[in-house]
Symmetry: C2
């Protein structure tokens, strides 16, 4: 370290909030300068424990995350939060709620909350989330919570980042539980049955249990279902305990290292993809510096004058 | 055409269900053989009108889609449906509901419903959906409905495929409407306020209208809000009419051609990405035929012996 070429990295490694915020901004904006900083902090990462929290809008997962923050802070742990905001694939704005939450913890230097919008940059949201988590890790955060909405492909990608993934469900899923089934079962290490004081909580718990049992052969880890009422702060300690138990399981079985290697592989492939595409687009642009070449290709395809498969083959050859 | 190397394409162009089903299966399985068939049908595509229908689980969008199918069939139109199933990123199974729906229309040769699971293949779900839509287009379907769950990044990608995107909302979104806001507003050409006989429908309609007005300058197209009760078949004709009006708007303003060019550009880039990554992975494998090279890279990264950015640079150079 100590390299003048990476001033933000130095600040981040000293735990400086301002440097971390600036680096995260560069990551989100896709600035090329972010990479040198990330490379500089990389050797000093890998210590934070990563917890993913995912659930539909309205499931109360932000309130659950707030409860987890409070719990970890009481244990004297440093906490980072990445709130992935899917509402802004185009507008890029952070949602109001996150700003309010950030203010709530503003006086606590042991908490850093960053909301991340999906600006559709080349590497995708999972890439940006990976890098922002890395910054929090390098700052010395002991636990990093990654909050995402829903259970789409993005969420699956981001869940792969986490050591432990908490899926938040609410009573009355009804028929939807069938639709959520496979994807949720695959990513959930712990279920939080939130708003569990509501009618239908017992039924939803039973449905979840049945789904878990239907998986066939006994898995090495059976995801526990923790009942919570996040708005009243109920069940937060139990949820933290379930996460701790899953962590102990991962460490005891060697699964933690396996997950970290799988994550490294996914990241390497994402970075490779990004570099290859950038290189190919630069080559295309050099062939026609006016920059109209990509548009011309798109128009030829739209008019059915050439097929996209052949044109992509040609561009890939360079 | 008439090429013995692409037997499925010939069948598809004659409207044969069996050939179409086999080609779709090859697409979903990511078979290399699918591409020659797709290239063979490509010049005969571009005639179908594409309608995206998206909404949260439980919003009743499948029932709405069934209503639209019935409506278009009465008009004598051929209909294709691609039901993108996000519940199966890992397991790859189609959900029960779709099987039941397919049986319901099984006797009608003018309807082809295909459910598409996210098997995590290289090109991603949007790529597979593009190709399946292309097969339906080549079969001679006049309208192709693409049904997706939720409003994550995948849905945005898939919405870009459609000429008209219908976003299904239900009463009582409450605070969630804030979270859904930006993403939904950007992709919705038509809103279906389903279950509109429920309490809170007027309030949700008012909230939606307010969101639309908050967008600032008057847009060229103001998304209508159509009230429906899909389970009773109410509002289906009005929804089809709103879609028809949006289509007329796209055609009158030249926006239809612009959307098609944008879609062609996105597809070209996705194909280019796929080819580049495949090429790089093949190069890596040649360097170490045992196939352990990618795993070795991942382990070095996980152990912090090398950073992923540098290793990706190296692999991209070939």
């Amino acid at each position: 370290m100590g390299d003048a070429a990476t001033p933000l990295a130095e600040g981040v490694l000293r735990g400086e909030v301002r440097a971390a915020a600036r680096l995260m901004r560069s990551i989100e904006d896709g600035l090329a300068s972010a990479e040198a900083e990330l490379r500089a902090i990389f050797p000093r990462t890998g210590r934070a424990y990563l917890v993913g929290v995912t659930g539909n809008p309205g499931s109360g997962k932000s309130t659950l995350v707030d409860g987890l923050i409070a719990h970890y802070r009481k244990q004297g742990l440093q906490v980072g939060v990445v709130a992935v905001d899917p509402s802004s694939p185009f507008s890029g704005g952070a949602i109001l709620g996150d700003r309010i939450r950030m203010q709530q913890h503003a006086g606590d230097a042991g908490v850093f909350i960053r909301s991340l919008a999906t600006r559709g940059h080349l590497g995708g949201l999972a890439r940006a989330a990976t890098d922002v988590v890395r910054v929090l890790d390098a700052m010395g955060k002991d636990v990093v919570l990654v909050e995402t909405v829903g259970v789409g492909q993005d969420e699956v990608e981001i869940a792969k980042l986490a050591h432990t993934t908490v899926v938040v469900v609410v009573p009355g899923l009804g028929d939807d539980i069938q639709a959520l089934k496979a994807g949720v079962l695959e990513i959930a290490d712990v279920f939080a049955l939130n708003k569990s004081d509501r009618e239908g909580a017992d039924r939803t718990q039973k449905d979840l249990l049945m789904m878990l049992e239907l998986r066939g052969e006994a898995p090495a880890w059976q995801p526990p279902i923790v009942r919570t009422v996040a708005v009243r702060g109920e069940g937060g300690a139990e949820l933290a305990e379930a996460i701790a138990q899953h962590r102990a399981h991962l460490e005891a079985t060697g699964e933690k290292a396996r997950r970290e290697t799988a994550r490294a592989k996914a990241e390497f492939l994402a970075l490779l993809r990004e570099r290859l595409v950038r290189g190919a687009l630069e080559r295309l642009e050099r062939q026609d510096p006016a920059g109209a070449r990509l548009d011309a290709i798109a128009e030829r395809i739209a008019r059915r004058e050439a097929d996209p498969y052949a044109l992509a083959d040609e561009a890939a050859r360079g």
